[in-house]
Symmetry: C2
Subunit: 288 residues, 2 copies
Amino acid sequence: MPPEVNGKTDVYLMLGDPVDQVRAPAALNAVFRRFGIDAVMVPARVPSSGLAAFVRSVFEASNILGLSITIPHKNAVMEVVDHLGPSARLAGAVNAIRRGPNGLEGEMLDGTGCVASLRHFGVSTDGARALVLGAGGAAAAIAAALGSRSDGAPAEIALYDPVPGRAQALAARFDGRLASRVFAVASSDPAGFDVVVNASPLGLDPQDPAPCDAARLAPHAAVFDILMKNQPTPLVRAARARGLRAEPGYEMLVQQVHLYLAYFGHVEAARAMREDAAFVRTLVYPAE
Amino acid sequence: MPPEVNGKTDVYLMLGDPVDQVRAPAALNAVFRRFGIDAVMVPARVPSSGLAAFVRSVFEASNILGLSITIPHKNAVMEVVDHLGPSARLAGAVNAIRRGPNGLEGEMLDGTGCVASLRHFGVSTDGARALVLGAGGAAAAIAAALGSRSDGAPAEIALYDPVPGRAQALAARFDGRLASRVFAVASSDPAGFDVVVNASPLGLDPQDPAPCDAARLAPHAAVFDILMKNQPTPLVRAARARGLRAEPGYEMLVQQVHLYLAYFGHVEAARAMREDAAFVRTLVYPAE
């Protein structure tokens, strides 16, 4: 790759609000460099009020080829794109957008990334009781992917969100479409669950309350906290202090890097990064 | 500076169509790195049809702090910004945009950059007859800056553009506002002019005709061709073959780097780069 961004460089944007915490740009830029791809991903902090106009207009630039979407826009941005991929349609959320032949195309890669992470950690969901905390875009993607697993869907997926009605609406969306029984629960109490995924933003701000009470986790429970900021979070620390398996969200990005590359058309780099997750981990996990 | 673009990185865009040829991103990125400024400039190739929507919407991203504008948008973008700086108002064109307290602010730095280049090359315009080829944004900025020189404005500035009426309209814009007599000419014939500036896009495409007939240049004439692509252009080569002073456009960017930095608020880097033009030249001029 050229040593510098130049006039021929293709551009990808990472959209969110906040964006301070995002790790995808550094990881993808390192991959671009390794494979001689003249492209760069830069962050764009866009408030919800400007989301639709920004996404529509930014593609007026022909060398801006794709967007990665993070909190809090994964649901709302769905309304802006013209065509949805199968995972986005099921989840009702989007975290990757590209220019297609007939307009903007959106897909949701979080769910596949989460399932691959749990597989990597050796956490089975086969016939399990899973609790997903949060009912936003990432939570929807994760529930959809867990409930669609042909290699071991949970028996039950419980959804919790502190905003009244939000978990119910998401559960209703999945009604009859997943292998798992999906339902909303009125409390974040993790007692009785085999797998607990924090897919809420709680923890992005150090002042946040814990998304659930770690003292109530079952003695065999596994915790996956998808945040990459402020890790290990109080939830992860408390679960580990009890001797439980508890993992931060880095692996979910590791497992999505090759998906992003493939979605953005970098087929060779995608194949190589799928086969060399160890290298991707050096880009995503914080230095020891 | 952090070794990689990350979630905290500020972003500047270089807007044009085409953008392949732009050298500002590589130069500014090297300066950002040298001064530990966590910022990056990336190109955005935006067609005229999408210009207004793009410029308005892209500032929805709070970490997108400024735009550099190149061909063919320097005139049209003036209508998009809310407040014009003095050089932009005089020239009727804009090549730098930033977010101000009351909306978007635009300024035009090309003219100052051109005058500083001529000074660097030891080309005097004091009382001279100057011919400016082109009547677009860069030509307007250059004519305005030449005609405003307190250290030696030309006696006459002739404007030529192949599009009928365009040079006349620009000359009318300057009527009574410059120290030089400004008028449109019906031919690109450089005979009789002391200084000839090519501020037209002719030469960006290798198939372009020369912007004027170098054989007709006065024996003492100096030529400044603001293009940075395909240099030395046929015009520069032909003038040099006749033993005339003829310079490509790199210096105009060199002399603007510190202006861009100041306009975008990087005061310390601006001061240092104004004092160390030799370093900036290593970033802008092609390697020998």
